[in-house]
Amino acid sequence: MIPADKSKADANPTKAFFVRMITRDITLEDCIFDLIDNSIDGAWELAGGHPLSLDDDTDLSPYKISIKIDGNSFEISDNCGGITLDDAADYAFTFGRKEDAATENFSIGVYGIGMKRAVFKIGSEIEIRSTYKTEDGLASFRVPINVEQWLASGDENWDFDIEEAEDLEQTGVSISIVQLTEASNRSFESPRFLRNLRRAIARDYALHLHRGLVIEVQGKPVSGWKIELRQGGEFNPMRAQFEEELDGEKVFVEVLAGMSAPPPDDSEPSEDFDEGQNISGWYVVCNGRIVLAADKSILTGWGTEGWPQWHPQYTGFMGIIIFSSRRADLLPLTTTKRSVDETSVIYRQFRPKMRETTKEWISYTNTRKQIRDEAVKKEEVAKAVPIFKVSVRQEVELPKIMPKPKVPEANVLYTVPKPRLRSLASAFGNINMAYKDVGLRSFEYAFEDLVGDE
């Protein structure tokens, strides 16, 4: 017989779980991005809230998001409309999305966890202020959160107080955080963190920045990354558009793939920084936000059935798959927005398309090895075109080149101290010359000297 007081297993959540546990599953950078996403959702709603396809030319230039970071504080503010008092009281601060919450059109935020998790990860003294438009003019409020006090107040009362506040300069939201966590304190002191944050914003919000949105870090606007594919001659990227229906709701999908840069001459892994390899791979975009960039892993199919693992030989390939829907929960977003949900129906549906086009490129780079000079000439004809300007075509077009009988080749491999190699590179006129080129130049130099004409 189960005693009456033991007839229920306590399954209530604890505050500590949200403050100390779920914050471990996300990087600091992605937390900041969660806050940017909220601002962008506000801007997108104000700008009309429609599918963010490449052809769309919504003007986001009136909207600005500013981030200020120092060793002791973090602040993000925007002019993207603000949170209304009703939304704040009923939805914005709820942990997890309520069933009856209205769907924000084509939003990036979907799970109702981003802002809370982000601020908890960054620090423990938080103030969220909002100014928004009402029928009678502007209205404002503030929500101060002292995390330690909130935790200490027990697991029965989860509410945050909403207080009167002065209006912000423009309608929008401002979040300021002090008493930083040790991890954010360390990262915010790192110039490398801040420069990489700018780079990641430039890349992951490229589609919004292209439409004029201003994102400032430390007072300096971030320039969006120009995503380009090569088009011309025998190279034509794929750009195909699809419309699917899921749960009675439309999901728009656009797939682009092709050559973003000529493949490398040398496919051996190099220890040096390689820009080409860095940007190659698959990109997944959900409602305008790049959630997976330059992926070369099993997530986008590499190394799965009928698809080889990534190899530096494939450098130069870029594929972009863009999903948009009024209901963000139908998209393959994860809660961190730094990956894709592989089990997502819509994502699985498009994986074969991604595979076909990737295999075309793999096959091209295999043939190319044998007819390198001819391939290089053809590649030179193709010019970089912004993805927005790529012509629509259902499949990627790559040169059809017949391999020629080849002269047997010898591979030379040797090791020398790096400073000596750099000295020789410098003597050849370029201290940054690739190791391979230093080797080839030395060979040619010796060959000419000792052998002469062939």
Binding site: S190, R192, P419, G429, N432
Partner: protein, 315 residues
């Protein structure tokens, strides 16, 4: 060529100013942070100029000098100025772990000044990484590098890429060749190397963090930069931070120090005009009977207290 074969670098005037600023800074740091039983680690060459200062100004007895050159090593042993200096032979990267291995040295603060005469290269970057991750709490670390533009690429366009190869992600994507010219490179290199050190410390989550304390570009016949900071124990960070934030802190210099080589007579004549609240002018120097460039006049007035006087002794 090893530096001791080219010049006695204790007689470069801007170098003397830089050394004066560094040791004044170190003395002030020792007032607010417990570096009482510190060890001095440096590249003493055959002159040991900085070791003498470390002993006299900071009262440090235990000192280690690392010397890579075989002949230099023999000469360093011969020339070492105090009994308590240990000279180690080899490259810094190979010997620094041995310094840490000396009994008790891993628990005492280090004042470590790797005063290279060469440019930033992969080996120096490795040394920096090793030092900021291994130096014990309350250490002060300093690095001096050549900022001669050609060492980073004979053509200006090559230099941003070379610096990016060395320092990685801290280098802004928009670093331009204009930032890497003869006049601009010392300041660029000082800032980026400092950013690199800060980032390395932040990424390795050292409890007290890294406090920027020295950024000194200077020029004798070649442009050099000294960068450095404090790696405080957690409890000492606030006091150290407050010290370098004071207006009187002289370790961070925005303009390149270019102290002119001058005769004793010139120095004596100019010194008699100082201290003065108004700026000395070139016209005034001409009135006094000789001449200097404006920037040299400015450097002299700013740093005359640190300038050495040289005279040849015929022995």
């Amino acid at each position: 060529m090893a530096s001791f074969d080219s010049i006695n670098y204790s007689i470069r005037p801007s170098k003397s100013v830089q050394r004066g600023l560094v040791f004044e800074g170190l003395r002030r740091i020792s007032d607010v942070m417990d570096v009482g039983d510190a060890v001095y680690v440096g590249l003493g060459s055959i002159w040991f100029t900085d070791f003498v200062q470390a002993h006299k100004v900071l009262g440090i007895n235990d000192m280690v000098s690392i010397e890579a050159n075989e002949i230099g090593f023999r000469r360093a042993i011969f020339n070492k100025v105090y009994r308590t200096i240990t000279v180690m032979e080899g490259r810094t990267r190979a010997r620094l772990p041995d310094v840490l291995g000396i009994d008790g040295y891993n628990a005492r603060p280090w004042i470590i000044w790797l005063d290279y005469d060469s440019a930033l290269d992969e080996e120096v970057v490795e040394d920096m990484q090793w030092v900021v991750s291994n130096a014990p709490p309350n250490s002060v670390v300093l690095f001096t590098l050549s900022a001669t533009q050609n060492a980073y690429g004979s053509k200006p366009i090559q230099r941003p890429e070379r610096i990016r190869t060395l320092l990685g992600d801290v280098v802004p994507d928009d670093l331009a060749k204009e930032d890497c010219m003869k006049e601009t490179l010392p300041v660029t290199l000082a800032s980026l190397t400092m950013d690199f050190l800060k980032s390395e410390v932040a990424d390795s989550a050292r409890p007290g963090g890294f406090i920027e304390a020295f950024k000194i570009p200077y020029l004798d016949s070649v442009a050099m930069v000294t960068v450095g900071g404090i790696l405080p124990a957690k409890g000492a960070a606030a006091a150290a931070r407050a010290l370098v934030a004071e207006a009187s802190w002289k370790g961070v210099v925005e303009e390149v120090i270019e102290a002119p080589p001058m005769t004793l007579r010139e120095i004596a004549t100019l010194q008699a005009e100082l201290p003065a609240s108004a700026a000395l002018t070139r016209a005034r120097i001409q009135e006094l009977g000789f001449d200097l460039h404006e920037r040299q006049v400015k450097s002299f007035q700013q740093y005359y207290k640190y300038l050495p006087s040289f005279a040849e002794i015929i022995a």
